[in-house]
């Protein structure tokens, strides 16, 4: 009976400590929403609005045709015409263009006479990823252009039956980046907020001297910890709810799966996040240590989550490390529930590891809490 009263008092106190200050309320709601809005649009690996430089030494019409084709293609924005190889190189060096195309003086002549015609493409390797994508766009355009040229003898030889590749993307037919980013950011932002709020909780009491007062009260260790765990989880659920609403109504991301399953999995994700935060908090003596500790956990857990880059691209041992990262599992669940209607057993499979992480970190936090009292 009394346990319930005590826990209730603790939870209310924790919530008030965060939310009573109007600035605290603003900080808890506004930045996450801004993050969701800005980063959903910002984080795209697509390459569009491409600026290229062209050095056309060719007098014929074939090069002009090719350039017009490029100019007309949607991802390209500006074509800087340059007049010397030095200028061409300069455009790349100064990053005015990510790719520079050079047509030699004999280009059209070669095309017309059915000889091998050459195009040189210079790309900025400082952005090797984007440059590769640009190159693939260019290649496709050149292939199209070339298919209309009078066939050379050799090419005529090999013109046989073709193979069409018919692609279809499941779950996201137009391959909308937003559909990927918004559910991913739900996980990422929920992690950031949950971690910081929890990491501060014990460290703040230690720093401000209120900790002793808690320790002489009849609260048991587990009650204090439970009292520290519930409020950030409640805040986390509020965040997740806001994000889900924004995803569905603002970003129009389809919600195909089961919302109750998402919330069930979210419970364990928040549990694991808060467990990590609590562990950091119990290990810190000052708020500064707790916040910085949270950062040091946060950065790798973002990178190793599959959010920035697929996990299977990582070296094997890093893939193993990523098994300890709750975000890894939650990302699969959030995206799965939104876009795929992920079956319950798959959700369950990804929930168990989060529960394990939560239990382990909570136990570690309890142990530290007991041993760092003096």
């Amino acid at each position: 009976m009394a346990v319930r009263e005590r826990l209730f008092a603790l939870v209310v106190k924790e919530l008030l400590a965060i939310l009573r200050d109007p600035r605290g309320r603003v900080v808890l709601i506004a930045p996450p929403m801004v993050q969701l809005l800005v980063f959903s649009f910002a984080a795209t690996l697509d390459v569009t609005r491409i600026d290229i430089a062209v050095l056309n030494q060719d007098a014929g019409h074939h090069s002009i045709e090719a350039i017009q084709r490029i100019a007309g293609a949607p991802p390209f924005r500006t074509i800087h015409y340059v007049h010397s190889p030095a200028e061409l190189e300069d455009a790349i060096v100064m990053q005015r263009a990510i790719a520079a195309i050079q047509f030699g003086s004999d280009f059209s002549r070669n095309v017309d006479s059915g000889r091998e015609a050459r195009i040189q493409v210079l790309l900025d390797g400082r952005k090797s990823n984007a440059a590769q994508i640009v190159f693939s766009y260019l290649n496709r355009i050149f292939a199209e252009v070339a298919s209309e040229y009078p066939l050379s003898l050799r090419a005529r030889d090999m013109a046989g039956p073709g193979v069409d590749v018919v692609a279809r993307a499941w779950f996201n037919p137009n391959l909308e980046d937003l559909w990927y980013m918004v559910p991913s950011l739900v996980a990422v932002i929920a992690l950031l907020m949950g971690l910081l709020v929890t990491a501060l909780s014990i460290a703040r009491e230690r720093e401000l001297g209120t900790f002793d007062q808690l320790m002489v009260s009849p609260l048991r260790t587990w009650e204090i910890l439970v009292g520290k765990v519930i409020p950030p989880m409640m805040i986390g659920f509020v965040h997740i709810t806001l994000f889900v609403l924004a995803a569905v109504f603002l970003f129009r991301v389809p919600l195909n799966g089961s919302l109750p399953l998402l919330y069930g999995a979210s419970f364990f994700f928040l549990f694991a996040t808060v467990g990590v935060g609590l562990f950091l908090s119990a290990a810190s003596t000052t708020q500064q240590q707790a916040i910085l500790g949270a950062f040091v956990f946060m950065v790798p857990s973002l990178v190793l989550s599959g959010f920035v880059t697929p996990i299977e691209n990582m070296p094997g041992w890093l893939q193993v490390v990523s098994y300890a990262n709750p975000v890894r599992y939650y990302l699969i669940i959030v995206k799965g529930v939104f876009l795929k209607d992920l079956p319950a057993d798959a959700i369950f499979q990804n929930t168990v590891p989060m529960a394990v992480i939560g239990v382990v970190t909570m136990l570690a936090a309890t142990w530290l809490f007991r041993h760092r009292q003096e």
Binding site: D124, R126, W170
Partner: protein, 374 residues
């Protein structure tokens, strides 16, 4: 005389701050351990060069032709293929995210080819990760084209009659760590400049040391300088660490000059530190300061600086927003100093913009650090 007094006070403040940094393990953590971790993750963990993507290959009716095509899929380093006879075998795996795509060679494939008709290969991709989906699609096309070319009489580039010569400057191996590692330095500098600084100043307000200090003849400007100098030096120290790691461990070339690198880093630290000071004098509270530093410093440097995501591809509103993100102006110069050499016109422009931002932020933060407690 007054200047000498002023310098003496600044020296005292700097010495004090330095001692505090050296004594608090968490500052060392953020300035030295986190950079190592970040470079490590970006050097090894994050690779935008997708490889070994798991796909299912369904050959509905095997023949020598399809066996040769399947061999082509097995042979490419980009795919890791599981083979089957019916796409339904793989649909569940695609749903669960175990496979990124299914390549289907239909029953009629061999027949169509033999009859000189265009044959089709289907690709089903997991659209929940649009990037990987596009990748699977593109490389299926590539693999099929390559196979097809091999089937013909001679090995020839796909666009007949047109040769595209490509050259990736600065990064011929197309190693993404070559631009990710320099980008990570911008993040490290942002963390030291903005996050760490905002915390330490907020802590002085919370602990009441600011009040005692302000009642001495110290001016607001001196307080600000006393904070700037140590973290400025700390920032440059972590740049040095990053430089050593980047070149020795990650084999990133360093083609520019040390002078350019340190000058860029130093100028970049001005707006970073200015932002940190501003946040702390506005919030005077470590929790709020950390939240705002996260929102306005770390995440923009991570997501809006152009180091992971191309700024050109973002919607127009967000592109304007990136103009005020200091890291966005540093990243191109930073990757150039490593990969391209000294490109002074580019650096000077970045330096001018960053210095202007720094001047504005620092002026505002000196103003905000008024010697008033009401």
């Amino acid at each position: 005389m007054r200047l000498r007094d002023s310098l003496r006070r600044i020296r005292a403040l700097v010495r004090k701050e330095t001692r505090q940094i050296l004594r608090d393990p968490s500052s060392i953590l953020i300035a030295f351990i986190l950079p190592i971790l970040l470079l490590f993750l970006f050097g090894y963990g994050v690779s935008l060069d997708t490889k070994n993507v798991r796909v299912g290959l369904v050959v509905e009716s095997p023949s020598p032709v399809t066996a040769s095509l399947a061999g082509a899929f097995r042979g490419t380093p980009y795919f890791q293929v599981s083979e089957g006879r019916d796409r339904r075998e793989f649909e569940d795996s695609l749903m669960r995210g175990h496979l990124r795509g299914i390549v289907v060679v239909p029953k009629m494939f061999t027949e169509d080819l033999a009859a000189g008709r265009r044959a089709a290969v289907q690709v089903l991709t997991d659209g929940t990760d649009p990037n990987t989906a596009k990748f699977v699609q593109a490389y299926t096309e590539g693999t099929v084209a390559l196979w097809l070319a091999g089937q013909g009489s001679g090995a020839v580039q796909a666009p007949a009659g047109l040769t595209v010569e490509q050259r990736f400057w600065f990064n011929p191996e197309l190693a993404s760590r070559f631009f990710l590692v320099p980008g990570a330095i911008a993040i490290v500098l942002t963390l030291v400049g903005t996050l760490l600084t905002s915390l330490v100043v907020a802590r002085e307000w919370e602990r009441g040391t600011m009040e005692a200090m302000m009642a001495t003849p110290v001016s607001a400007l001196e307080i600000v300088i006393g904070k700037l100098v140590p973290y400025f030096i700390l920032g440059l120290a972590s740049v040095t660490l990053c430089l050593v790691l980047a070149t020795l461990v990650f084999q990133v070339p360093f083609r520019g000059s040390f002078f350019a690198l340190y000058l860029l880093a130093a100028v970049f630290l001005l707006p970073s530190l200015g932002l940190g000071l501003l946040i702390s004098s506005l919030t005077k509270n470590q929790f709020l300061a950390s939240q705002i530093a996260l929102l306005s410093g770390f995440l923009p440097a991570f997501l809006l600086s152009g180091f992971l995501f191309q700024i050109g591809s973002m919607p127009v509103a967000i592109r304007f927003l990136t103009a005020v993100v200091p890291a966005r102006h540093l990243v191109p110069s930073l990757s150039s100093v490593f990969l391209a050499g000294d490109i002074w016109p580019m650096y000077l422009e970045a330096i001018a913009i960053l210095a202007l931002m720094g001047a504005v932020l620092l002026t505002v933060s000196v103003r905000m650090t008024r010697k008033r407690i009401d």
